[in-house]
């Protein structure tokens, strides 16, 4: 009886009964379990730290402005990633222009207009979920086959790469936008409709403006995924020795991840160092993009 009393008393004393240290939390098994949980986090972050340290140490000899100003060369000490940086900028900008409006429009249809009782809309939804998990290299094959059908001989053009990446991140943007739209309370919509606005006016003037932070966050994260992606571009033949700046949608290009892949595959140590230095640059860009996304989310997102 006293034991039961003690247990109950212990439970009442603490604010979070589940977290109370009294009922068996200090048993060896429970402690080992907790240590294992910590260990899984420590190992995961340990690998991340090892990765960052590796590329910084390997690349330290090659951090210089040359990376930004020089073209790839046959000697690692004269080579730079200038066309890859510009190529990444071109491809990502083109991808953004093509895919963000499309993704938002599709998400608005699915979330605001589509009748979920309609089989076609349910099919679209299932389809988007599946597309988000299709291997990225398959999008490369899709773009390759599409361009072959059109009879395009030279597939290593900015437009082709952007097409593959756009299709790749379209489901990501749709899913993020839908979540942002869903976060807008339905009272806002009802209020607008009750004042006589049409449904499109409600979406355009109420729902979309208040979900801009969420959409922007999702779009930036999707673009950062596209920035790090190499496989579909590899299939499209983006692995080339480029001695000029990409300058248009039909221009040849290479991107940062492709350049890293290229240099990693060379036998000379000097190129590995270049690959590591370029990896640091790429990671830095991604951290900035992710930081921006998190900043927008924390700063501008409305809480109802």
């Amino acid at each position: 009886m006293r034991i039961i009393d003690g247990t109950i008393a212990g439970t009442i004393r603490t604010e979070r009964p589940i977290a109370s240290g009294t009922n068996g939390e200090r048993r060896p098994a429970a402690l080992i379990f907790l240590v294992l949980l910590w260990l899984s986090l420590v190992v995961a972050f340990g690998v991340l730290i090892a990765l960052v340290v590796t590329i910084i140490i390997d690349g330290q000899g090659q951090f210089s402005w040359r990376l930004f100003t020089e073209f790839p060369a046959s000697s690692p000490d004269r080579a730079g990633a200038r066309p890859a940086i510009l190529g990444s900028a071109w491809v990502i900008a083109t991808t953004a222009v093509m895919t963000i409006p499309l993704g938002i429009a599709a998400a608005v249809h699915l979330e605001e207009f589509a009748d979920k009782r309609n089989w076609f809309n349910r099919l679209i939804e299932l389809n988007v979920q599946n597309l988000a998990a299709v291997p990225s290299i398959v999008y490369g094959l899709l773009a390759l086959a599409f361009l072959s059908m059109l009879g395009v001989r030279d597939k290593n053009i900015v437009m082709a790469g952007a097409l593959a990446l756009s299709l790749l991140i379209l489901p990501v943007i749709i899913i993020a936008t839908r979540e942002a739209l869903r976060a807008v309370p339905s009272e806002i919509r009802q209020g607008s409709l009750a004042l006589g606005a049409t449904q499109w006016q409600t979406v355009w003037r109420q729902v979309l403006p208040s979900s801009v932070p969420g959409i922007a966050t999702g779009a930036i994260l999707a673009l950062s995924r596209a920035l790090g992606e190499a496989a579909p571009l590899l299939v499209l033949g983006a692995l080339v020795f480029l001695s000029f700046d990409p300058n248009g949608l039909l221009s040849g290009y290479t991107t940062l991840p492709i350049q890293i892949f290229n240099w990693t595959g060379r036998p000379q140590e000097g190129f590995h160092a270049l690959a590591a230095a370029t990896s640091v640059l790429l990671l830095f860009l991604l951290v900035i993009m992710n930081g921006l996304a998190i900043f927008i989310r924390n700063k501008f997102q409305k809480r109802w």
């Binding site: 986090l41 190992v43 995961a44 679209i124 979920q129 299709v134 892949f261 590995h272 590591a276």
Partner: protein, 319 residues
């Protein structure tokens, strides 16, 4: 059971899901039909993409299977598409993919579930807010950078220099283990969602019966969230099967049946990436081979994805 008349007012059948808010909205203004049509087209493009993938992969594959019998492709044990005596048995690619996927899961399942349990059941809201984005970084690292890390650090420094393992320049093991780390956030975040969705009352009930947090987690929360956890792992498998750059860089490029993870091997994705580097003429057997392997890859991941989506639905419905 009443049926909803197509032109009628807001009469809703009680046994159907609630209609969208548009059901209650007034009549759109004239130009808005055009806008709605455009939105509908945008959504339909996703379906067009899937159909496009199927067509893009199937048409060259038909050309391929006209020359190579399906049975020989699926069950042949020698993959040498570019040799003079070409052979198109895909099993070497499939076994290498199976190895890297298995090794990746060996890392990702314990680490991902451990992280998920910690975040869902043990971490304070503040700690969770810090740890979650940090964990997401693992998913944000570009796969080429993981590939570099697997090749230069794990394979060449750890395996060859520190552990003195009998292995060459590449190994399936290095690629698989690093891939596992990449998948940790995928498994962790979906499992955590599933565990967080388990009602608090079940934890309280368990605690009231005298269970500690470990017992509550393992015997109450974990079984209750099982379908979500399975979905997370299945999605992790899909990621591992489709991952390209890590294996293209670190697993090697000789297609042969892999018996030992310290050997090199070429996965399905690794083959596509490597073969695409050489310039194949449209319509040639080399070109068609890319798509035949791509089709197999797509069908495998499609199957896995649908299994995962089914399990996710199940846990969404449960609570």
């Amino acid at each position: 059971m009443t049926t909803v008349a197509s032109t009628g007012g807001p009469a809703i059948a009680p046994d159907r899901p609630t209609p969208p808010i548009s059901y209650f909205a007034g009549r759109p203004r004239p130009g808005e039909f055009v806008i709605r049509l455009l939105l509908r087209i945008a959504a339909a493009i996703t379906v067009v993409t899937t159909i496009g993938i199927l067509i893009a992969l199937t048409i060259p594959s038909i050309g391929f299977f006209a020359e190579v019998p399906v049975i020989e492709f699926l069950f042949g044990t020698r993959w040498a598409p570019r040799f003079a005596d070409a052979s198109f048995g895909v099993l070497p690619l499939v076994t290498a993919t199976a190895w890297t996927t298995f090794l990746a899961l060996l890392v990702a399942v314990p680490l991902g579930l451990g992280a998920a349990i910690f975040l869902a059941e043990y971490a304070s809201p503040r700690l969770r807010k810090i740890l979650k984005p940090l964990l997401e970084i693992l998913a944000g690292v570009p796969t080429v950078v993981y590939g570099y890390f697997a090749l230069q650090f794990v394979q060449s420094t750890v395996f060859r220099e520190w552990l003195q393992l009998e292995t060459g320049a590449f190994s399936v093991l290095a690629a698989g283990l690093v891939m596992g780390v990449m998948i940790v956030p995928t498994i962790a975040s979906i499992s955590e969602d599933a565990m967080s969705a388990v009602p608090q009352a079940m934890r309280q009930g368990s605690a009231a019966l005298g269970a500690n947090r470990m017992q509550t987690t393992l015997r109450v929360v974990f079984p209750a969230a099982l379908s979500g956890i399975v979905a997370a792992i299945v999605l992790g498998i899909s990621r591992a099967v489709g991952e390209t750059m890590i294996v293209a860089i670190a697993a090697g490029n000789q297609a042969r049946l892999v018996a030992n993870p310290l050997e090199q091997g070429q996965t399905m994705t690794g083959f596509i990436a490597n073969a695409a580097l050489g310039d194949s003429r449209v319509g040639s057997i080399e070109y068609d081979t890319l798509f035949a392997v791509g089709l197999l890859l797509f069908l495998i991941t499609l199957l896995i994805n649908f299994i995962s989506i089914r399990f996710v639905r199940k846990f969404r419905e449960a609570y």
